[in-house]
Amino acid sequence: MAETKAKMICPDCGAEMNQHAEKLIEPTTAEEERRMDPELGALVEEFHTCPKCGKGAARPGC
């Protein structure tokens, strides 16, 4: 992975989730624009899935 962060924990079953994707998100509000990565010109979002129950979750990336 590009960045090493703590594993996301499944909000439903508590298992460690697998990060399988990240995406650059265009800001749609002034608040999001303030949080934007100036080099990438976008917000980074990480996508995780739980191998135990299949639940998906997302969190801001870097």
Partner: protein, 189 residues
């Protein structure tokens, strides 16, 4: 693949228009998916959802739909072709989620009253599907002349669609299964 949970592949009926013939297509596909071993499904009718039209995107996320999409491994979208494209309300509904779709398989069934079977709406669906994170399969369904394809009770009058739908589902299920394994087990490098 080794997973005790059944694949979850809902069928999304993507029009609210009165007199919609796509209902027959969606119900036919629902039955075809239900016959597959190891797959669960349900019909999601966008007419039954309640979305505001004074905002858009994830700001108007519907909790129930979000949960269903989150737990889905793939999706069948049934869309009529209106003026060569998809219904605006279908796009409005799809845009309310993002994380819920990432690295999941989607297959599209186009519906038209004319002879082209929604080929143009399917083409127009591909770009937004990609941007939403879906992985499109390379097998479409084209329900042409739909008002002659089903009787008034919704019974299919052309049995050749059963075989074609079988091929479509083979591809969609393979893709959904493969992507589920990837989502759950293969970390982003």
């Amino acid at each position: 693949m080794q997973n005790e949970r059944p694949l979850n592949i809902p069928v999304l009926l993507g029009t609210v228009r009165k007199g919609r013939a796509s209902t027959h297509v969606a119900r036919f596909l629902l039955e075809q998916v239900r016959e597959r071993e190891g797959v669960v499904t349900e019909l999601i009718d966008i007419r039954k959802l309640s979305f505001p039209i004074d905002d858009a995107g994830q700001a108007i996320k519907d909790k129930d739909l979000s949960e269903k999409m989150n737990l889905a491994d793939g999706l069948v979208i049934v869309t009529p072709e209106y003026n060569h494209s998809f219904p605006g309300l279908l796009k409005h509904v799809l845009d309310s989620n993002l994380m819920e779709y990432v690295h999941k398989a989607v297959g599209i069934a186009g519906v038209s009253a004319g002879p082209f079977g929604g080929t143009r709406v399917i083409q127009n669906c591909l770009a937004p599907m990609r941007e939403l994170g879906f992985v499109t399969v390379f097998f479409d369904l084209n329900f042409s002349n739909v008002f002659k394809l089903f009787d008034e009770s919704g019974n299919l009058l052309d049995a050749s669609f059963v075989r074609r739908t079988g091929k479509f589902l083979n591809e969609l299920i393979w893709m959904a299964d493969t992507l589920r394994y990837g989502r759950e087990n293969i970390p982003l490098k």
